[in-house]
C-alpha cells in the first residue's frame, strides 16, 4: 500500500511515568520547541510526531504521551502495542516518582516484548533538573548501576523548561532502537518462510473503498 521512494523509518515511542513528572512538557519541548506551565493533565493518551534526519534517512517518531495516574495503568496494554522504545520519566524533586520507575519498567516489560523476545530500548529521564538536584541523581555511579540492574539503555538529567538534554536523550533512544531493529533482523532465521494471511482479505471487504 505504501511505496517508499526513499528510506523512511517510523518508530512508536512511549513516554511513561508518574503523573505530574513532566511527560507532556518534555514532548512539547522536543516537538514544538516551547514550554508552558499551563498544559492540561493528560487523560488517557495523547500523541505527537517528531521528524528527524538520521544518516540521510528520515526518522519519524510517534510519541505516545500516556496518562500517569495509576488507574489508567489498566489500559496500558493497548497503549504499549507495537512500541519500539520508551522513556520513563521521574521528577527529581519528588523521590516517590523515582520509586515508581521500577514499577513502570516492570509494567512495560511484562506487556511488551520485541519479536526476538527482548525488551524495548528504554531511557530513564530525571526531569525538572532545573529545580535542584536529587541526592540520588548526584551520584552518577549509582544511577549507572540502577540503569544496568533495571535494563535501561541510559539515563539523562533533563529539563523541559530549560531545554536540557532532551534532544540528547532522544538521540540515545533512537540509536538503540535502530540497533535493536538490526538485531531483530539478524536473529530472524533467513530461510524460514512464515505464511501469513493477507490482511485485506477479511470477511468484510475493506479494499472496496481504498483510494486508487
Amino acid at each position: 500500500m505504501q511505496t517508499n521512494h526513499h528510506k523512511e523509518r517510523l518508530y512508536k515511542i512511549l513516554v511513561i511515568g508518574d503523573l505530574g513528572v513532566g511527560k507532556t512538557s518534555i514532548i512539547k519541548r522536543y516537538v514544538h520547541h516551547n514550554f508552558s506551565p499551563n498544559y492540561r493533565a493528560t487523560i488517557g493518551v495523547d500523541f505527537a510526531l517528531k521528524v528527524l534526519n538520521w544518516d540521510q534517512e528520515t526518522v519519524r517518531l510517534q510519541l505516545w504521551d500516556i496518562a500517569g495516574q495509576e488507574r489508567f495503568g489498566n489500559m496500558t496494554r493497548v497503549y504499549y502495542r507495537e512500541a519500539m522504545g520508551a522513556f520513563i520519566v521521574f521528577d527529581v524533586t519528588r523521590p516517590a516518582s523515582f520509586e515508581a520507575v521500577t514499577k513502570w519498567k516492570e509494567d512495560l516489560d511484562s506487556k511488551l516484548t520485541l519479536t526476538n523476545g527482548k525488551h524495548v530500548a528504554t531511557v530513564l529521564l530525571a526531569n525538572k533538573c532545573d529545580q535542584g538536584r536529587d541526592v540520588l541523581t548526584n551520584n552518577g555511579i549509582k544511577m549507572e548501576q540502577f540503569c544496568q540492574e533495571n535494563g535501561f539503555v541510559g539515563w539523562y538529567e533533563t529539563s523541559a523548561k530549560e531545554n536540557i538534554n532532551i534532544d540528547e536523550a532522544a538521540n540515545c533512544l533512537v540509536k538503540h532502537i535502530i540497533a535493536s531493529e538490526k538485531d531483530m533482523l539478524q536473529s530472524e532465521v533467513s530461510d524460514t518462510i512464515t505464511p501469513q494471511l493477507e490482511k485485506d482479505k477479511g470477511g468484510t471487504c475493506s479494499s472496496c473503498f481504498r483510494s486508487q
Binding site: N38, R40, A41, I43, F47, T204, S211
Partner: protein
Amino acid sequence: MKCRRVWGWGNSPDTLSYLESASLMSGTLESLSGLGEDGSSVGSDSEINGLTIRRTDKYGFLGGSQYSEGGEKDIRVEVARQREIKWIDMFNNWDKWVKHRFQKVKLRCRKGIPSSLRAKAWQLLSNSQELLEANRGKFEELEREQGEAKWLDIIEKDLHRQFPFHEMFAARGGHGQQDLYRILKAYTIYRPDEGYCQAQAPVAAVLLMHMPAEQAFWCLVQICEKYLPGYYSAGLEAIQLDGEIFFSLLRRTCPMAYRHLKKFKIDPILYMTEWFMCIFSRTLPWSCVLRVWDMFFCEGVKIVFRVGLVLLKQMLGSVDKLRELQGMYETMERLRNISPDTIREDLLVQEVGISSSNMYTSKICFCFDSWTRVMSHLSCCDRSSNLHFLCLPHPPTFFPI
C-alpha cells in the same frame, strides 16, 4: 466575573427578567474592565504560550482551542425570553413536568437550556438539588475531614491543569482552583473506595463554572454515581466496556468509519476515553459542550454514545475524508484534535437528536452479548463485584427513556 452564575434565585423566579439574562454577557465583558490591559488580574498566567490575552469570550475563555471567536449567531431576544419563561414555569412545577410531560422537557433540553437558568436546570435534571437538600451540612462536614494524603497529593498536582485558559482556573491558587480542590477532596472522603480519578477534574471544573462548590459537589456525585457509574473507579473497567460497546454500535451505524478504525488497529480506548470520561468537555467548541451537557443531564449516558458516533461519522464517514487519513497516526490526530470549524452546534445537536430507537435497541442487544462475554472472561473472578456492568450502558434508571 461571576455574573454568569445565576443560582439561588429562590422563591421569586418571576424577578428574573430578560434584562438580567442579557446583562450576563455584557457583565462578563464588563468584568474585564477590572483587568489591566496586560491582563494583570489573572496574574502570571495571563501570558499563556507566549500569547498575551486581554479579553475573555462570552464563556470566560481567555484563549486556547476552546475560545469562541463569536462568529456564531445568538438566538433572537424574543426567543430567548420566551424560553426563559417556559423554563421558569417548568421549575415551578418541576415534579409534574418530569412525571407527566417528560418528552417536552427532553425537547426543551435539546433546544438548549437558557444560559441564565442552566445551573438550576442541571441540578433539577440530575436530582442533585434534592440530594443536597436531603444532606444539608454534609458537604461542610466532608470539608472538615482531613482526607487521604495519596489523593490530596494527586488532586493538588491537577488543579492548575484544568481549563488553564478559562478565567476561573487560570490563576494559580485562585478561587476556581480552590473550589476545585474542595469538591474533589470532598468526593474522596465521600467515596473513599473510589478516591480520585483525573478525569473527574474537568467535569468538576465545568460544574464550577456554573454553580457554587456545594451544588457542584452534589452534581458531581450524581454524575459519578448515577450517570456514569464505574467510569472513574479504580479499575476503569466500565469505560473500557463502554468502549467495546461503542465500537460495536459504530459497526452498525457507520460501517465505513468502523472498518477504517479496525484497519489501522485503533482501539476505541485510544480516542473515546477522554471523550466519554470528560463528557466531551475537552473536545468540542464550548457552545457545543453546553448543548451536549444539557441533553446529557436530561437523557443520560446514551447522549455520550450518540455524540461520539456523530463525531466519528462526521470525521470518518466518507471516502473523501478517509483519503486524507492514510495511517493510524493521521487518523488519531484527526480524532484527538477536532477542528472547531468542522463542528456546527446546530448540526451536531440535530444529528444527536435524531431519534435512533433502532440504535438503542441494538445497543441493548449488544449489551447482552457483551455481558455474556464479560462474564465468561471473568469466570475466575468474583462476579458479584462486577454486577454493575449490567446496567451500565443504559440510561440511569430514574430517567424515562
